[in-house]
């Protein structure tokens, strides 16, 4: 290969790299957020009203027939999310005495990473909001477990399928609130149209202070939490505001950060080729020298 061909090929590769972005991926419409679409439902958890009674955990367990882990009140302990605990209330001691509470469950993302990575299309994002796993289609590969920014789905050790909160989709699709919302005695859990819930959450945070979690994380979710302490202090995962779906991440890896990597890869391949070829030609020339 002469120098001219090498330069042509390198330039060609460099120019075609951006074309990889036209790879036909299932796109999520980020220009028209689901929040403004009619019929999208949302759960709002107000940490300033929660008293940590865990009736929501019990309602979830009873509704779905789960064998949830036990919860203790003195000292307060809450189970980690598992294949049989789909919602849990975390209690952390407050600096001013008392406890701070936070809810851990599926956030029902607007652009769910789990839906985009599931090879079996076993996970569906309903138009009304819930993200639901079809246990009869699940292959048990745990890619959703690995890819969820909120670390929610878990593999059931007996059923060998991923399981998580369904937002009681059977009720929600009929316009009724999920089981956890129905039983909350202090109205710390609210359910309604997403645009109304977002307005309510913003008003509440102005009035009582705190942090909103789930409004912008992972490009928006259908479960919004009002927390009295930073999410990381309450044991919630730190999540970026950008989308975690594989098409979105693929474009990140291939362009801004990955473009350099791909160019390096192409360059290294050519370097290897040239060195290898030189070695072969060199050895062939040595053989041709008369002794």
């Amino acid at each position: 290969m002469d120098r001219r061909s090498f330069l042509k090929l390198t330039a060609g590769l460099g120019l075609t790299t951006p074309l990889l972005n036209i790879f036909p991926v299932r796109s999520y419409d980020v220009t028209s957020p689901r929040a403004v679409q009619k019929g999208v439902k949302c759960i709002f958890y107000d940490g300033s009203l929660c008293i940590g009674c865990r009736l929501c955990q019990r309602a979830c367990r009873e509704k779905w027939g789960l064998k949830s882990e036990l919860t203790a009140f003195h000292p307060p302990s809450s189970p980690r999310l598992s294949s049989s605990t789909w919602v849990t209330i975390i209690a952390k001691p407050s600096r001013s005495g008392g406890s701070l509470f936070a809810r851990r469950s599926c956030q029902h993302c607007d652009e769910p990473a789990c839906v985009s990575v599931c090879p079996a299309r076993a996970i569906t994002k309903y138009e009304s909001g819930p993200v639901v796993i079809d246990e009869k289609r699940c292959f048990g590969c745990q890619y959703c477990v690995v890819a969820c920014p909120f670390r929610v789905p878990r593999l059931d050790p007996e059923l060998k399928v991923a399981r998580k909160c369904t937002m009681c989709y059977d009720l929600v699709t009929k316009g009724q609130p999920p089981a956890c919302v129905r039983v909350c005695p202090t109205k710390a859990l609210k359910f309604g149209d997403k645009n109304e819930i977002v307005t309510l959450a913003e008003e509440r945070v102005k009035r009582v202070g705190g942090y909103l979690y789930g409004l912008k994380e992972a490009a928006g979710t259908d479960v919004i939490l009002l927390l009295k302490a930073p999410p990381s202090e309450l044991g919630l995962p730190e999540v970026e505001e950008s989308s975690y779906t594989s098409p979105a991440v693929l474009s990140e890896v291939l362009t801004a950060r990955g473009g350099l990597g791909l160019f390096g890869l192409a360059l290294l391949a050519f370097l290897g080729f040239i060195l290898w070829r030189r070695e072969v030609i060199g050895r062939e020339r040595v053989k041709e020298i008369p002794r």
Partner: protein
């Protein structure tokens, strides 16, 4: 921190390793054909065998890991959004086509196979297939890295350097796997000419790996260094576990030490001033030893990276 709690453990790591080895083998086969023509036909032959076996092992380890392998037909449903659907499609193409490709390169020791496969002498068809196998090989190696890189939440995996590292490692392990086959079968060669040819081929692969392994070493060190300084806590936590924590023994001892530095030294000795060195008599056993070390190192590297990326997951409530 309990590593057993992690969703992806040793089976996915081995599936990723064998995927890289399989894809790398088809790259080696096509590349050798392009660079050296028919001279090193044995390299193409062993590379295609290694490629087919490794691709099958990739599927097997992934199936062992899955909860419901009987639902494997569902795996193509989310192509190309899900990298596993993409990988399943590539594997479903590469295995049958790889078997067809091996039929163009029947073993000399079984002459009856040649009469059963009269098309094996059709060089034009084989060259066309080689071009396709090269593309599929690149796709398979790319899949093994993108399947991790697209799980953005594990910030340790979301790096273009992982794509580079897995690519170089896939090709270098494939080259060494073929080298191991040649070293094992060297003693079954009874003519001086065939022994010389085998020695030439081992030297050829040693030279190729003597360039690739230092590149892999630099990329691996750069990857950990960059991740130690990443703005995301998750990436720093994982990199710390790899560099100084519970995975450091496997990383430094198993991968960097035994899997890269020792093979680089051995390859330098083997390729220094060509074959006519004092190591000529030890060439075959040393090539075999180098190959085993590189292969084990490659598997250890995949395991370390797969496990490290998930460490931050165990910290949240």
């Amino acid at each position: 921190m309990v590593i057993e709690e992690m969703p992806w453990g040793i089976e996915p790591a081995l599936a990723i390793f064998f995927g890289g080895l399989g894809g790398g083998s088809f790259i080696i086969a096509s590349y050798t054909s392009y660079v050296s023509g028919e001279k090193f036909r044995e390299i193409m032959k062993f590379a295609s065998y290694v490629g087919v076996v490794s691709s099958i092992l990739c599927i097997l380890f992934f199936s062992v890991h899955a909860g419901h392998p009987e639902r494997a037909f569902n795996l193509y449903a989310n192509f190309p959004s899900s990298m596993i659907s993409f990988g399943s499609t590539v594997l479903s193409l590469i295995i049958p086509l790889g078997i067809v490709y091996t039929s163009f390169l029947p073993p000399e020791s079984l002459p009856f196979l040649k009469s059963l496969m009269p098309w094996h002498a059709n060089l034009k068809a084989r060259k066309l297939l080689e071009a396709l196998m090269f593309i599929l090989g690149v796709c398979l190696v790319a899949y093994t890295s993108f399947v991790l890189a697209l799980a953005k939440v594990n910030a340790f995996w979301e790096s273009p350097l992982i794509v580079l590292l897995f690519f170089v490692s896939g090709v270098s392990t494939a080259s060494m796997a073929v080298g191991l086959c040649l070293a094992i079968l060297y003693h079954a060669q009874y003519t001086v000419a065939s022994k010389k040819l085998y020695m030439d081929m081992m030297h050829y692969l040693d030279v190729a790996d003597s360039y690739m392994l230092p590149i892999e070493l630099v990329v691996a060190l750069a990857y950990v260094y960059v991740m130690l300084r990443d703005p995301f806590t998750a990436a720093r936590l994982a990199a710390t576990a790899v560099a100084y924590g519970q995975l450091s023994g496997l990383f430094w001892g198993g991968f960097i030490g035994l899997g890269l530095v020792v093979p680089i030294i051995l390859l330098m000795l083997l390729t220094w001033r060509g074959k006519a060195t004092v190591f000529a008599k030890l060439h075959v056993p040393l090539t075999a030893l180098t190959s085993v070390l590189v292969l084990v190192g490659g598997a250890v590297m995949r395991y370390v990276i797969v496990v490290a990326g998930q460490i931050p997951m165990l910290i949240v409530h």
